[in-house]
Amino acid sequence: MTEAQRLESVDILVNMGPQHPSTHGVFRMVLWVDGERIVDCDPHIGYLHRGSEKLSEGELYSQIITLFDRMDYIGNFNTELAFVGAVEKMMALTVPERAEYIRVILCELNRISSHMLFYGTMGLDAGAMTPIMYGFRERERIQNLFEAVTGARMMHNYFRIGGLREEPPDDFVARVRGVLPAIEQGIEEGDRLLTYNEVFLARSRGIGVISGQEALDYGLTGPSLRASGIPDDIRAVEPYSVYDRFDFDIPVGETGDTWDRYAMRVEEMRQSVKIVKQALDQMPETGPIKAQVRGIPRPPKGEAYFRAENPRGEIGVYLVSDGGDKPYRLKVRPPSFANLQALRPMLRNTYVADAVMVLGSLDIVLGEVDR
């Protein structure tokens, strides 16, 4: 007989979101609570549904890139890459090397800026107000760089089928090299500030644990899966672009709790810096940045599936073409959507106060959950 049964108390349902300040977007959880303890949780999604997949069927291939920008609006480059990668795979295009390297540099910087945002909001979720300032300071350096390269801070529309839109500015390499030390320092500073803070440890250790097998069963990917001890990273197991030419580690966690999921991302930022440095060294100085592609690409009849590592996990794009200038069908396998499924088992038997921490540790982006 549980305490609740003995006291004949009733479980109550609590709505959390969609306007809750810390639900990371418009997301609603219906929490079934017994006192302070969460018995069950029912995630409700769809508040940001824009029908991107269906919309894509009516747009030209070059226009769809803009939709992908808005899908995962924190990892724009990575999401763009997933789409152009799928089309390139279908058309069997070889992208010029220089373009591939620039893509990798931008994607990895984007990963850092995305994780910086995660780092800041994770601090906020735990009640620490300072980390977000540090997170945003570093993020701002990277966003400025993106603005200098693509013209836009977030919706870049820079990757093209077969390469890039335009040549990056002449001082691109110098600028990237210039921001790297500051970013490295920022990562270390942030790490010292939050990672081993006693309060943060007490709030995150042993909370929202998910075992490796369970994580696989739920289809978790990315840092959330690696936190449970499964070293699965598309960049390493199935390299795309030029990722097979870099030497980097895949951080793996031990217990799969909230702290592990946090620490994975901090470590990943360091690895991303490492990749960017190698890419800068290997990048050809000059060369074409776009393959010969017709103004309006028409991939041949057929289908292709391309997967890439987004800051949040595996993003897959499944594309069916009927030979026209618009896709016949486009399906996205979004990482956050799959990761969100594991929220329920994670939240069972935790306290209401930890719900936000656990949700935050999954690092969801609602634009891509709802599409």
Binding site: L67, A152, Y196, N197, V199, P288, R294, G295
Partner: protein, 192 residues
């Protein structure tokens, strides 16, 4: 306890540094050279007319369908002052619907549209930012003045010429580029 102290040290060390925050409406940070604001139409100062010939490629390629326009016969061409046989008569971009994707700039073959640096143009009405030709040209003129604008095709030609002068292999690359643009434009015509 120890790591909390370490964290406090970090905070302490940054209190002595200069602030990185800018108080936005009062303080404006310099824009990047390539910064994208809303699209604007450019002005051909030599002839005294817009570059835009109203070919409607951008209108067709805009993903949000926020542009509309109309092509008319160019009166200046009749007088022999301009090489443009047709010219834009009416043009409107609903900037409230523009998503700043830059596709219109990319597809224009006449250097007629550019992403200006205009970005602070909010409005109380949902349709309050339907921007017509004179205003778009005004935005474009301002942008051209402030950024020492050169028509992109001229710039590209200058770069290609420099490359040609530099080395023989570069010539091939230039020729390839020209072939690509030729193909693209022929495709656009085919679509029209």
């Amino acid at each position: 306890m120890f790591s909390t102290l370490k964290g406090m040290l970090v905070t302490l060390s940054t209190t002595l540094r200069k602030p990185v925050t800018a108080q936005y409406p009062k303080q404006h940070l310099p824009l990047q050279e390539r910064q994208w604001g809303f699209p604007a139409l450019t002005w051909d100062g030599d002839v005294g007319e817009p570059y835009c010939v109203g070919c409607m490629v951008c209108v067709r390629m805009c993903p949000t369908q926020c542009m509309s326009g109309e092509m008319i016969d160019n009166p200046l061409h009749a007088e022999g002052k301009s090489t443009r046989r047709k010219i834009i008569g009416e043009f409107e971009i609903n900037l409230g619907r523009c998503i700043l994707c830059g596709i219109c700039v990319e597809v224009c073959n006449f250097d007629a549209i550019e992403m200006s640096h205009e970005h602070e143009i909010s409005h109380y009405q949902r349709n309050g930012r339907r921007t017509d030709l004179p205003l778009l040209l005004e935005m474009g003129k301002k942008f051209q003045r402030e950024s020492n604008w050169l028509p992109p095709t001229k710039k590209k030609a200058a770069v290609a010429a420099a490359a040609k002068a530099a080395a023989a292999p570069a010539v091939e690359a230039g020729a390839e580029g020209e072939a690509a643009t030729a193909e693209e434009s022929s495709e656009k015509e085919a679509e029209a």
